[in-house]
């Protein structure tokens, strides 16, 4: 199905455009232009600026780990915080273990999220783990794993190299 234009006003600056992009309010034709153009070296800062304005707290965002999950600077340290404000753990720890979780392991459990007439995933072999922000109930991640598989996090950034070597600026926290 064709994507529909949802943006009504055209942003003036690159920063405004990125803010609109993070709100998913960029017209499809402008999105295509963004995809085709050379990637802006300012995108990271513009994106962080847009995200920073969208959250109800003040800690500086160092890196976004997901739609509602961030590494932020707090008290000279890097911690993982949700968009709603739940502070989960240190930046490199297993944040999923600080969430609330619903684990689905039977066909009846699966049928709560999948239409039963279409469901062919075998619950004996696959377990679905839903990790929720403990403050807001927002779904942060859904893991599909064999039962008893350890809870893994999907991404451990090399924060030091990213800031020092790629962004060429000091990392404002001690790791």
């Amino acid at each position: 199905m064709k994507e529909k234009d949802t943006m009504t006003t055209k942003p003036g600056s690159e920063r405004e455009l990125v803010a609109a992009l993070m709100r998913r309010q960029v017209a499809w034709q402008d999105l295509l232009k963004l995809m085709r153009e050379p990637k802006s070296p300012h995108r990271f800062d513009d994106m962080v600026d847009a995200l920073q304005k969208s959250v109800p707290w003040k800690e500086k965002i160092l890196l976004a780990l997901g739609e509602n999950l961030f590494i932020v600077a707090k008290g000279g340290k890097a911690i993982i915080k949700t968009a709603a404000g739940a502070e989960l753990c240190a930046w490199n720890e297993n944040w999923k273990m600080k969430c609330r979780v619903i684990v689905r392991r039977t066909r009846a459990d699966f049928a709560k999220i999948f239409p039963p007439e279409h469901l062919t995933i075998d619950p004996d072999l696959v377990e679905i783990r839903e990790f929720y922000c403990p403050k807001s109930g927002i779904l942060l991640d859904v893991d599909c794993v064999p039962p008893t598989y350890p809870v893994e996090i999907d991404f451990t950034p090399d924060l030091a190299a990213f800031y020092r070597d790629w962004l060429e600026r000091p990392l404002p926290v001690a790791l």
């Binding site: 739609e67 684990v103 109930g137 599909c144």
Partner: protein
């Protein structure tokens, strides 16, 4: 024609190229781009001539080819290579084979083909051999050397996917041969022609070993014609630019490709380690007629760590994966390199400079003996794609995490499983037949970072893939379409949903001897494809249907309703509206008995995963899906909290989030409860065996398990299979995977990542 005079052998040229890269980190040791810098516009014009030549010739090739796969469904590619086998420029199409062709050329060089069987002007070489860079028997490579004044200055190669490959059961891919000996016709890096013509003995071999040799042989002629046209055009390009310019500029193009790749990684990604797993399930112990070697149930577990290094290179490490098995889903170095290549070309190396330069900036660690690097000479790989597709689709997902972190959300895209139907037996003309229906090349995408997954998109392995005209497939085999339609309520749910599932239903027409085989990559036999992103769900699975001895003919004669889709056919079979002597609908019995006139078969192609919390889905997107028949109000309410108006939907969602908090428990509390089960290993036998099979090859997952659950003893020891080891083939060169260095390249002081 005379044998070429040369000062260096191809082996020496290849050795020198590899040493220069090892010593300098630059392709051919090129530090200064002298040819480029001297005249950038001339350099650009040179590249454009090469690229436009190859792309336009590929279009011409379609009109020479025979099989619908090439003529109608874009299943081929054409490329230009350096003397040592590195890709310089290539066409659109099945990009996976750009690097597999490279491996094929290097295989010939390393195995001394210059001396025997000799590489001479006019020679034609062909390959579909796993150990020589091939992926599986239907992917057939045709390659010619290009000489100028007696010197080999280039290779031109083309690859097509053949619909029929002489497999035991019929279609181009074999789903249940236990090893390579049921996979059909192997062409193991052979010289098959001289003086620009295929040899008669080779064409006879095709005729006698394939059910439908005209597809393969006429596709061969299309590929050869394409190669010869490029050779002719290349001569003119060299006449214009000069041979010395061609040699230096083609090398600089590759070095430029490498530099651009590193630059793009550093511009759009974030260094660090990304993780994911896939676990294709193959159940066949219940199948009476399967070969005893392969009569077992497996989970082919693949653990994938992707490291983006501070230097801007990418490494994939598959430590922890289970071993190869007696089935056709094994991968080797060639298939894995091909799979990685399609990821690079579609996601990170998508500008005009697609060449082997990007490949110099990536590395894969493939544990020997594992499912991603089978080391048995007879390992089956006819359906290596069933392992490759989820693996590299998962890499797409991991790259999406990186793009999100860097802010380039417009680039995030997830792929989809490939489900396939194969038809075999005798066709409507009374001839033996076998083919895979390539409408599967249009499976629906996973969600993107800014949009829903495309409904009816393209397969991960061919960005030009399409469904094609139903009429073409009705002419190809003894079947007519009863329907081809989207499946309501079947999508990877999320803020952006995966592309909708769709289904096809056929009736046998014009044959009394037909059987069908089905499969789904990653989602086969009750598995799942891969997880979604940031709260998106996977799709709920695929299924197939077959019904033998139906009363459909009498239904049609009476003017009664025929089924308009797979689900409707299933419901009619269940209710008795359609009577059948024998039928099945589901993910397990993928092999039909012999079907006949007016019997039924069908398949549901599932789409990719969702992105983001479904409760964040835009109200308007939900109503559009309902209006388009892709979503029922019942499911919209259940999954998305949809309540017709925006205000009511917001209120419903608030209640749903509260309900989530009430029904969930703290993960640490869950850990305490679950630890008892983890300690006892109380899981299904297939899962227990999967863990034990992983531990047989590596301590990685075992140690993570013990660490995470704080246990001293790993509860899984029974692999469920004979502890069988065998050596990799010997007596000839074949590509090997590098072994991961002991020290990680990660510079962070990250704690053990599974530590609680």
């Amino acid at each position: 024609m005379n044998a070429p005079a040369r000062t260096s052998t191809l082996v020496e040229i290849l050795d020198r190229s590899e040493s220069l890269f090892t010593e300098t980190g630059h392709y051919q040791g090129i530090v200064d781009m002298k040819t480029h810098d001297a005249d950038p516009l001339k350099f650009e014009a040179f590249h454009s001539r090469l690229l436009s030549t190859i792309i336009s010739i590929r279009e011409t090739m379609k009109y020479i080819a025979s099989s619908p796969a090439i003529r109608d469904f874009e299943e081929f590619v054409l490329g230009l290579y350096t003397p040592e086998g590195d890709a310089i420029a290539l066409s659109t199409g099945i990009m996976v084979h750009v690097h597999t062709l490279s491996e094929f050329i290097k295989f010939m060089i390393r195995n001394g083909y210059e001396d025997d069987p000799k590489i001479r002007p006019g020679d034609i070489f062909e390959n579909n051999e796993l150990w020589a860079g091939g992926v599986h028997t239907p992917d057939v490579m045709t390659c010619i050397p290009v000489f100028r004044d007696g010197e080999l200055i280039a290779w031109i190669g083309s690859v097509s996917h053949e619909l029929e490959a002489g497999t035991y059961e019929g279609p181009g891919v074999s789903t249940f041969a236990p090893d390579r000996f049921g996979e059909g016709l192997h062409i193991s890096a052979e010289k098959v022609g001289e003086n620009d013509e295929f040899r008669k003995d080779y064409l006879l071999r095709l005729k006698m070993n394939l059910r439908n040799a005209s597809w393969w042989s006429l596709d061969d002629k299309a590929k050869l014609s394409g190669c010869l046209m490029v050779r002719e055009a290349l001569g003119k390009i060299i006449d214009t630019f000069g041979l010395d310019y061609y040699k230096s500029a083609s090398k600089e193009l590759i070095e430029e490709g490498r530099r651009n790749f590193v630059k793009r990684v550093k511009t759009t990604m974030v260094p660090g380690t990304y993780r994911g797993l896939t676990m294709p399930v193959h159940k066949r112990a219940h199948v009476e007629f399967v070969h005893p070697l392969g009569k077992a149930d497996y989970i082919d577990f693949v653990h994938n760590e992707m490291t983006v290094t501070p230097q801007g290179t990418i490494e994939l490490d598959f430590d922890g994966s289970t071993g190869w098995s007696f089935h056709t889903f094994n991968c080797g170095v060639g298939p894995m390199n091909g799979g990685f290549w399609i990821t690079l070309t579609q996601l990170l190396n998508y500008d005009g400079r697609v060449n082997d330069g990007a490949y110099l900036a990536v590395r894969q660690y493939l544990p020997e003996g594992s499912i991603v690097n089978a080391n048995y000479a007879g390992a089956g790989s006819s359906l290596a794609w069933y392992t490759l597709i989820p693996i590299f689709a998962n890499v797409w997902r991991m790259i999406g995490i990186s793009w999100f972190a860097r802010g380039f959300i417009e680039e995030i895209i997830m792929s989809a499983p490939t489900c396939v139907v194969g038809v075999a037996g005798f066709d409507q003309f009374g001839n033996a037949t076998g083919y895979n229906n390539f409408e599967m090349a249009a499976e629906s995408f996973g969600a993107r970072g800014v949009a829903d997954g495309l409904d009816c998109g393209s397969a991960i392995w061919n960005s030009e893939g399409m469904q094609g005209d139903a009429e073409i497939w009705e002419m190809t085999g003894p079947n007519v379409y009863l329907s081809r339609a989207f499946t309501r309520d079947h999508q990877g749910f999320g803020m952006f949903r995966g592309g909708s599932a769709w289904e096809s239903l056929w009736m046998v027409k014009g044959s009394k001897l037909v059987n069908v085989t089905f499969g789904g990559s990653g989602c086969h036999s009750g598995g799942f494809f891969h997880k979604g992103l940031f709260g998106g769900y996977p799709a709920p699975g695929w299924k197939c249907l077959w019904a033998r001895g139906t009363n459909l003919q009498s239904l049609i004669k009476r003017g009664d309703k025929a089924p308009r889709g797979l689900n409707e056919a299933e419901a009619m079979l269940r209710s008795g509206k359609i009577k059948a002597e024998e039928w099945y609908c589901g993910p397990l019995n993928q092999w039909s008995p012999m079907l006949s006139e007016c019997d039924l078969f069908g398949i549901m192609y599932q789409g990719g995963c969702g992105y983001g919390d479904p409760l964040a889905r835009e109200h308007e997107r939900i109503t559009r899906d309902i209006d388009n028949g892709l979503l029922s109000e019942r499911v919209a309410k259940k999954i998305y909290g949809y309540a017709k108006t925006l205000e009511k939907t917001d209120a419903t969602r608030e209640q749903m989030r509260k309900k989530r908090l009430a029904e969930s428990i703290p993960a640490e509390k869950w850990w305490k409860q679950e630890r008892k089960r983890a300690k006892a290993g109380r899981v299904a036998p297939m899962v227990a065996q999967m863990f034990a099979r992983s531990a047989r090859l590596s301590d990685k997952i075992k140690n993570e398990y013990l660490d995470f659950w704080k246990l001293d003893e790993f509860p899984y020891t029974d692999t469920g299979t004979v502890d069988f080891h065998t050596a990799a083939p010997a007596g000839f060169y074949h590509a090997k995977s590098p072994v991961k260095p002991a020290k990680s390249t990660q510079s962070s002081n990250a704690k053990r990542r599974v530590a609680r």
